[in-house]
């Protein structure tokens, strides 16, 4: 089973931000691996550190951030790479799927967007070849009139089409890894389903790994192979997606599932609890909100293995 090669290896990632209000510890010791062709989802509430993880993978954090840990991608140490080396990796090896349709330059046509990316990474390509490739790409991403789309500007497209244009842009150089930062955010249910279908199709036809940042567990459930639930910059539970979402062992996981619209959006049972738990250094960050551990003395944050690849960081979970 363990034949597949590891594409992305994040090891003990810590990220802090120095702000005027003091040190903000956004990510506190996250480790995970993504194998070739695998979809790894990172889910959690807003402010849990999802986007920070995603930006550290592409080494695009603000100057005010201090990072420690290792991020290895395909033999590159991402955190140590220079700007020029990074530029060669972007799109060609790691592509970022942006979350908003505003990620398209309003003054350039879809074709120009694709061509400029092709030109940047394959300077030897001729104009005609670039055009052919782009049109072929648009065709595979389900545009009915790819040659026409090639010539249109973003404002002429609908929201769903823009989203699909962004998808084709992310996959245009056939990257090894795609980082999708909440791709379904802000889309209406119909578009969301449509995008999800497209993503599933891509997953079936291409051998591209994906890190999927989301707080939509339904999307994660259908798309991801493995999932990590994070809270306050730490993993709460990590394992095969179905196993975690269907037989979750951590109280936070069930809390997230209960908060889904389909399940009646039952949020925290006790709303009066402070959302920010006391920051004990090695204590369980979730204890303040946990229905089992709330009143007890602080306990440690430690991992328990449910089986070989399902880990839960909870004192009360049965191993």
């Amino acid at each position: 089973m363990k034949k597949k090669s590891v594409i992305l290896d994040v090891e003990k990632l810590f990220v802090c931000f120095h702000t005027p209000d003091g040190l903000v510890r956004a990510v506190r010791g996250i480790s995970f691996r993504v194998e070739k062709g695998e979809v790894f989802a990172i889910a959690g509430e807003s402010g849990a550190g999802k986007s920070v993880i995603c930006r550290s993978i592409v080494n695009r954090l603000e100057a005010s951030a201090s990072i420690s840990g290792k991020i290895r991608f395909d033999g590159h140490r991402m955190l140590e790479l220079e700007e020029n080396a990074l530029r060669k990796i972007y799109a060609r090896e790691i592509a970022v799927l942006p979350q908003h349709a505003t990620a398209l330059n309003p003054l350039l046509t879809i074709g120009e967007h694709l061509s400029e990316t092709f030109r940047a990474h394959f300077p030897e390509l001729k104009k005609r070849e670039i055009r052919e490739r782009s049109i072929h790409l648009l065709d595979t991403f389900g545009f009915r009139d790819p040659a026409g789309i090639f010539r249109t500007h973003p404002y002429q497209l609908s929201g769903g089409m823009k989203q699909r244009a962004l998808l084709s842009l992310a996959y245009c150089c056939d990257p090894v890894l795609v980082i999708a930062d909440e791709p379904t955010k802000g889309l209406d249910p119909v578009l969301k389903d449509e995008l999800l279908e497209t993503l599933l199709e891509i997953k079936a036809t291409r051998d591209t790994a994906m890190v999927l940042i989301t707080h939509d567990l339904k999307v994660a459930h259908r798309l991801a192979d493995r999932i990590g639930i994070i809270y306050k910059g730490r993993f709460m539970e990590k394992g095969p997606c179905r196993q975690v979402l269907e037989k979750g062992a951590h109280p936070y996981t069930s809390m997230l599932i209960n908060a889904m619209p389909e399940n009646g959006m039952a949020a925290d049972e006790d709303m009066s609890l402070p959302a920010t738990a006391p920051d004990e250094k090695n204590g369980c960050p979730f204890q303040g909100r946990c229905h089992r551990g709330r009143g007890e003395t602080p306990h440690l944050y430690e991992a328990k293995n449910i089986n070989s690849n399902h880990t839960v960081w909870c004192k009360y979970a049965d191993s």
């Binding site: 695009r60 990074l86 799109a91 908003h100 990620a103 330059n105 309003p106 990316t117 940047a120």
Partner: protein
Amino acid sequence: MTLLKKPYVLFLLLLMVLAVGGDSFAPNDPFQTHIDQRLSPPSVDYLFGTDELGRCMFSRLIYSVRISLGLAASILVICLVTGTCIGMVSGYFGGLIDEILMRATDMIMALPSFIVAMVLIGALGAGLGNMIFVFALTGWTRYARLTRSLVINIRNENYVVTARLTGLQSFYILRKYILPAIVRPLIVLGTLGMGMMILMTSSMSFLGLGITEPTPDWGAMLSNGTTYIRTAAYLAIFPGILICLTVLSFNLLGEELKGEKK
């Protein structure tokens, strides 16, 4: 095309035509002296009268459009290009480059540009080339400042961030993503700056430090006219009106362009 209906736009277009057509529109040779008809008042032959050497004022004014507008426009273009480049690099890359470029800009901004221009012209000598040089030397700073602040706004737009993440070259992003987005406010400031440039260069010529005889220039003609203000006031009045109308038109156009954005 509501812009074309505005009188000041039509006036500016007329000036452009005169600047290009130049002497072919002039009824008389602007350099030909008629010593027997010096300081004659406006007449059918000489629409705006003649100056102290008997040269046709009307022709000289028409001819001088090219000189005065051309001078102001070339200074402005140099300032705009330099300022935009410096501002874009400074705003986009930030950090140390930004710090160095902006402190240099501050230093130049701290100098009283007109005095510096006067001193430099005094040292280098008058003339078209020197005029362009001394005004361009201090004029680019306001464009650099504006560009920098515009770029800083645009730099964090989602599509620019995405462009960087698709591995595009910085200069490509500057050219294709940033420049088109900031060009409009720059045009507005440039139009407003044109009026100022005309005033500056005319003032310089008025002081006798700019364009020199026999080349006609609005400022120089105005200055010349003041000598005869009691006997032949039209010598100063016509260039004065021309300067006034041109500057006013450019300012109105600038305001119009600024408003149209909303």
